[in-house]
Subunit: 381 residues, 2 copies
């Protein structure tokens, strides 16, 4: 057991209709004026927008709006949000949407109290020392952004998809209502499943320490994701499966599974960020390509854990069998496992590897992952 | 998935020597004067007391002391602590010890800001609306008091062992250093194992809802407790096993495993509190008697979950096989499974049942557990 700090002060409000109380919950924390952040309009079509606005108004909370946040959320839109907060003297940021929306809300919350450029935080030029409170109503389960301090944003000018992390950015309150996630397409559900699994196996395989308890938590999450994804692909309205999928997703990246492991690294995310930055594919779709490719390359560095994975998750024996089983499962649910399936030309592998290597350097694994190594991994995909 | 709120703002600092920084950590939160609560002197013998005092002094924190907290901690000693806090104008309470010490620290923290009798909180006469901040350095893993807002105290006048729960009582910071737990006797380790298992299976069996994910988390905890207990009985100095045991213990009662289950009830704790209130036995020793007895009585009310338990934890099939396996395992590690082993006369069962029923009423399960039912359960033990 490696020393660790576990501190996660986010309050989760899980259940049907809880979003109808979001205004009251935020008002109880002394907030009177906030920025409402959302995406490209689906919340207006399904009525969620109206219910959130009604809840804010009932609670006497004034708001400005920032819409148009897209998947692989853009720094330029984050900057728009920061400008709105500063010009209106807003006190908090409420994201209503998926991970991209909440990640944008967090970046705005950090940038709003900083004199310099918010991108400074992403390139480790400045530390985050304060932030506005963040609140979230989730419409997608994948990133665990509802219960962590992470934010991933793409610099549209430089095509760098980078991240920040601070407990100051943990949402104060996050609403998880499985009903709000029921309209996610099967394709996006599959991408989300790949994303959740990625969040757990990065550390599961790369950690310096592998406490059995922590491995069991990871396997519990993965088995739950596999089981509930298969239920939801057939019946998207299964509330309980949707709920378990969402709660497992939250636990996958809220600090719990990595505790005591030494933390490991996030090579699959590092490589994928380059894929989605350059080709604007869904993050989860990129991950389901990268994960099996990376596993085939990495497996001999930690064979016991790969054999454990094969046995505990799939009831198989060898590292290779476990990797194949996961790859086949990704295919079976409809998320890509080759570059071709995502229409990414193989002759751009070197460019992808170069972009990813930039992030590897920033994340302290530049030596382990030179561009040539990343390119070799991508050749497996 | 039943609606739930999960909110656990305790910061866990896990690892070797972390207690040497407790003064600095507390000072950073603005505390200048606190009450130091501990037990009957073992921390003075092993040097922990000296290190904590040194850390407080280095950080410029003044302190008063309350020693002599015993297992099944007494209300009278809690009252002594409240008097000390009030007379010295102390700002926080630091418990250094096991669950009894930290539970006492919490009751003091709540009582210190209340005009009436602190026992009012325990008999639901008044709600806890404010409390001093609590800090903890753990020397025993069992109660999860380090990461929850629960406190169990015995009213020495009335022989009622009752409890309170409020997130206001969650420790702000808890130190878990497995080294500090290495001197626990094998007997107490076994009692602790029974206690941890009890924390998970109460809800696991009695919940209205059984999400597979939540069941998997419980099974992960139980398997880890069984595995690490067996290692520690042979080698008490195994740091990693001690650490996993402690961290699994923390997760067993910090709100995680019950999320989405509807919460269930705590009949084993209800009955055991009467045992330890009347006979002053170790809480875990009482639980290892009550649990198999209760399981034999309850199993037909939730056969699928009992069969699941048998399969997932012990690789067996029937409910009865699972119960026997757990009972035998308790025996094998040296914690009692019959009243006789704990020197509790069978002719006092009615008195125990009457005492327990008082708590059942307070916990809202008086109808499900009339005295006669509790007596029948105890006859199994």
């Amino acid at each position: 057991m490696t020393p660790f700090t576990y501190y996660n002060p986010t309050r989760i409000e899980f259940g049907r209709d809880k979003e109808n109380n979001i205004g009251k919950m935020i008002a109880e924390q002394g907030v009177e004026r906030l920025l409402l952040v959302y995406g490209t309009g689906s919340i207006k079509k399904n009525g969620l927008y109206d219910r959130v606005i009604k809840s804010l108004k009932t609670a006497g909370i004034a708001y400005e709006e920032l819409d148009g946040v897209v998947s692989n959320p853009l720094l330029s839109r984050v900057q728009d949000g920061i400008d709105l907060v500063k010009s209106h003297g807003l006190q908090a940021v409420l994201g209503v949407g998926g991970g991209s929306v909440v990640d944008s809300a967090k970046a705005i919350a950090a940038g709003a109290l900083y004199e310099g450029e918010v991108w400074d935080f992403f390139i480790n030029k400045a530390p985050i020392t304060e932030a506005l409170p963040v609140y979230a109503v989730m419409t997608l389960a994948a990133t665990a952004s509802e219960m962590n301090g992470n934010s991933v944003v793409m610099n549209d000018a430089t095509k760098q998809k980078y991240s920040i992390a601070s407990v100051l950015l943990n949402p104060k309150i996050s609403i998880i209502n499985p009903d709000l996630m029921a309209t996610v397409t099967n394709a996006y559900l599959a991408y989300s499943a790949a994303d959740i699994i990625a969040h757990t196996i990065e550390v599961y395989f790369t950690a310096t320490d592998h406490p059995n308890f922590q491995s069991r938590l990871v396997e519990s999450i993965i088995k739950t994701v596999i089981e509930t994804t298969e239920i939801l692909l057939k019946n998207p309205l299964d509330y309980d499966a949707r709920g378990e999928f969402a709660w497992a997703s939250t636990q996958a990246l809220n600090g719990l599974t990595g505790s005591g492991t030494g933390g490991g690294s996030f090579p699959n995310h590092m490589i994928e960020h380059a894929l989605s930055a350059l080709f604007n594919i869904a993050h989860g779709a990129g991950l389901s390509i990268v994960i099996p490719a990376w596993m085939k390359w990495y497996k001999d560095k930690n064979r016991p854990q790969f054999e454990r994975f094969a046995k505990e998750v799939f009831g198989l024996h060898t590292a290779e069998e476990g990797i194949s089983a996961l790859e086949n499962w990704f295919s079976s649910i409809g998320t890509p496992v080759t570059l071709e399936e995502a229409h990414i030309p193989r002759d751009r592998i070197d460019e992808i590897a170069e972009n990813a290597h930039g992030l590897a350097v920033l994340w302290g694994m530049g030596e382990e992952y030179p561009s040539e190594t990343i390119a070799r991994i991508l050749q497996n995909g």
